[in-house]
Symmetry: C2
Subunit: 337 residues, 2 copies
DNA sequence: TTGAAAGCGCTACCAG
DNA sequence: CTGGTAGCGCTTTCAA
């Protein structure tokens, strides 16, 4: 037996309370223009009837659609946390989020076009993606995770420079000099992080020790990179990996090969994912705050909606280093091979 | 300089062509009631003006909203392919898709509720998720990837029994009897696959050789499981892994440990992901057709919309086995350890 | 503080 | 085959 679909409308709430639709609307939107007593009455009745505003109608009637589009390509745990933050921010400001995926057969242009048919108030893009977003200038756009040259597009990201500096300094403090980097491939973010690694090494006077090992984004890449390291005549004593997955896979592989982490080799990841804390050898990791990134991105969009012409600079969040057990003091015996 | 936002409306197209809005609407919807000549003229003008229908208005005005909601929790490559198929189907039928994510802080109920405010015509859920979807009976719902007992919910999935049978038989044909399974953890799908593995073993008269090794969904789990296998006094000669990621990680780990795949041990994965083909040792894998699954799910929803009371059985797709180089004939010397 | 009325952009139904 | 005319459920002036 299928239950009757009886979408409760504003009208219904109005009729049940005896107020007009307009007044009920005011209450629902929490807009000024109603007495506290009226609000209470209306809210109570609305909840009782199970009223939920129709987003389509709301968006159509109001001047601002209050719908924000989000395009994403992958959705690992980091991205899901970003989405978490976006949903939280949207709820708070009574906005709706409509997600659209970039898939193998559906490029960014298609993903955005489809979204635009909802007459979005703004668009948030979760990297990685193109260097220059399409539709820039047509509506407020914020990208999170990478830098964009386009002035009409706001970018929100963690400072990779700072993160790499934290990581390198921590290792230097422990006595390391031979600090390698397993990179994340050829993506925008990976490239940026590799550059930051190099800068951080130079800043610590270790330019001669710069060593970039080809990696990737997934565990399998970490596994391979670790094996490559094992075959090196002279191994680095510490490694900063592109992300936690790569670092953990490398760590695990080292362990199976008989190397001790951190006694033989120290390891640092990026993202401070759940896995980093839960790993067999808890991983030291550069922590980004996805919830903060998301919150900032959302607020930028809101600010743009109110003032489209304003020129915000890129928003840069400072990462922190979460120190766990995968990093340790340099063991002298290792230097003699 | 921000470009002026001038959303082209039906009205504009009507004015530009000299026809009425109603007629233009008919043409845009590809509905009967307009001459071919009119269609051409209108379509040409619409394209020229860059007209795109406003989904909000369309959904509000029509009796069926033509919006289908999709909830997802993870989005690995398999899920992105599912989304691909859904988008393709939606485009074809002039439907719009609105995605909603289940995140750490946002459970299924919230994800669906938010979606419902769009007054969905139907809902598609990409597993894994709850055994019994909420809101069952309120609107057409299809779940893909796992079986649901609820009669008001359609389920679309690949036959795990068939897939495991294909895998086991292939290995048996190669002379293997000691065929183990690295499971995928405790999720609905993982449990179902493990059961199917056991059934397939029994069907081949190999119940005494049933051996389930604790694994998981990610590479790291495959790595660990492989290491566990290495420590076994008597190792299986073949392994069917929960998915390709696990299988590849295991394969790689075996290789580093000096075991040859497939000479020392044969390996089969699930999903026939891109990685399976690209792996160092190309992986034999049980192939599911995500595009087909998606297409079927969408069509079920459509059928439900037209006839809500109809009782469809679960849709089960037959997988195929893609044979690559990770499986080979049993080597006799291995039996003597 | 409240209510009436006019749309938002589209579809649907009805005459011509 | 075509064009007028009502709304869909909501927001938004503008009066009362």
């Amino acid at each position: 037996m299928t239950k009757k679909k009886t979408p409760v409308t504003l009208e219904d709430v109005a009729a049940a309370t005896g107020f007009s639709r307009a007044l009920v609307s005011i209450v629902m939107r929490n807009a000024p223009g109603a007495s506290d007593k009226t609000r209470e009455l209306v809210m109570a009745k609305a909840k009782e009837l199970g009223y939920r505003p129709d987003i389509r109608a709301r968006a159509l009637a109001s001047t601002d659609s209050r719908i924000i589009g989000v395009v994403f390509g992958v959705a690992g745990s980091f991205h899901l946390k970003l989405l978490d933050g976006l949903y939280t921010a949207a709820d708070k400001h009574r906005y709706s989020l409509v997600l659209s995926a970039v898939t193998p057969a559906r490029n960014e242009t298609k993903a955005v076009s489809g979204l635009l048919d909802f007459r979005l108030a703004g668009l948030i893009m979760l990297g990685p993606a193109k260097a220059k977003p399409i539709f820039a200038g047509h509506l407020p756009i914020a990208v999170v995770g990478w830098q964009v040259s386009e002035p009409a597009v706001d970018s929100i990201q963690t400072s990779y420079d700072s993160g790499m500096q934290l990581a390198v300094r921590h290792l230097v403090d422990l006595g390391h000099t031979s600090i390698a980097h397993i990179d994340g491939g050829s993506g925008l973010i990976a490239t940026a992080r590799t550059n930051s690694y190099k800068k951080a090494m130079s800043a610590s006077g270790l330019e001669d020790y710069i060593q970039v090992i080809s990696g990737g984004e997934d565990s399998i890449d970490g596994q391979k990179a670790a094996d490559y390291v094992l075959q090196l005549a002279i191994r680095p004593t510490a490694i900063i990996a592109y992300n936690d997955d790569v670092a953990i896979a490398a760590s695990t592989h080292f362990a199976y090969a008989g190397l001790s982490v951190p006694n033989d080799i120290s390891l640092i990841g990026w993202d401070d994912s759940d896995a980093a804390a839960l790993s067999e050898i808890p991983l030291t990791s550069v922590r980004q705050e996805p919830e903060q990134l998301a919150k900032l991105a959302f607020e930028r969009i809101l600010a743009r909606i109110e003032n489209p012409e304003q020129d915000f600079g890129p928003a840069v969040l400072e990462p922190t280093l979460v120190i766990r057990r995968s990093t340790g003091k340099l063991q002298n015996n290792l230097r003699i091979i």
